[in-house]
Amino acid sequence: MNPLLNVGGISKFYGHRIGCKDVSFDLYPGEVMGIVGESGSGKSTLLNCLAGHLAPDTGAVNFDTRVDGMRDTVTMSEPERRMLSRTDWAFVHQHARDGLRMNVSAGGNVGERLMAVGARHYGEIRDQATDWLGRVEINADRVDDRPTAFSGGMQQRLQIARNLVTGPRLVFMDEPTGGLDVSVQARLLDLLRGLVREMNLSAIIVTHDLAVVRLLADRLMVMKDGHVVETGLTDQVLDDPQHGYTQLLVSSVLQV
């Protein structure tokens, strides 16, 4: 099996400060990788470099495109990259309002992504949007409501529906459960886990919540000061951390 994503030597500097330095990894189809680390460790910088939101200073992000096979998304043209981010890629923001159009209806938010890839039949778009709202547990009678009328957890689920409706192969998630209360988090985690398996999604999840990666991620990457300090199987990294920083991170979690 070939990797879906092959990342080599990604670095990003902010002036003379390090955003992230020399990050390399492979991600295979169906694999979920978590990136953990404290605030300022470079995990969001890395994610944004991977997803094409930031231009890395060095390195390559090779993605196995459907048509041309492996392509470096850092050097591909802007329209090509934009097409990718509408079709095979998805990005789930921490704040749903960054990923949604707040004054367009819920159905419109989901339908818009379909229209961006060429869907034109209103009835079909609406049916598919309603179907997806159902899959993320939003009642069909809310399809015409705007996300401003939704709770935080519902907004987040709507954002996920909007992202997954085009059947992407790779999903980037930035703190997808951050800022939600724990019962809503549990529901979202359960939902994400189901969708990842059903759609055989590959995902990269940035979070500082170790419980989230334990439940969702197959593999873990631990970052500190822009560097990757440890990688491995999620349960191995959490249960038998090798690096001092990871040991500190794991032992700092409060038990409930």
């Binding site: 295979y28 694999e31 491995g232 349960d235 038998d240 500190l248």
Partner: protein, 227 residues
Amino acid sequence: MISIENVSKSFTLHNQGAATIPVMDGASLQVAPGECVALVGQSGSGKSTLMRMIYGNYLAAAGRIMIDDVDVASAAPREILQLRRYTLGYVSQFLRVVPRVPTVEVVADPLLATGAERGAALARAQVLLENLNIPERLWALSPTTFSGGEQQRVNIARGFAYNYPALLLDEPTASLDGKNREVVMAMIEEAKARGAAIIGIFHDEAARDRVCDREIDVTGFTPKAAA
């Protein structure tokens, strides 16, 4: 099926003065298909540590841990995940689940992960839950609120849902009553009969004597300097 050669392990606590604690040295053992081997030794002697290394949950410092043709000690995460999905099962002492997921789904999950058809996986889960005397009215509920014994039985059902060629059992009969203990014993015997290689930790001596063909005393693997 399972072949361990010269495995050693130490823990380095970087945040506690970089103290290094050697816990295992020169661990070697073999388990053939259809055989059940018990790990024995007093508490703290490294039974669970060894078992966790075999599962890839702890990193081995040195040595080889061959399961079929995969060396867990040096395999990439992806290979270990593959191994855990199709070859190597592990019944831990504690159940860890996603909140909100119904018990029957928790049990069917390992089957679904291998691509089993959903209806068949759920049917198999129901049979296991029934055999382990989990009342049917609980099947649709999340096991997070179950009693300790019920959670353990759900965990066992989950561990036996898929017929793994190799199985690790960490105290599968602790905190079970006589009737359920008997069910679990029968499940282990059945797994042996279909050719599974099993490594188990049993504090219950009667259970150990009944299902295990051999005992391996892990105190023999304790590092000499620390002894």
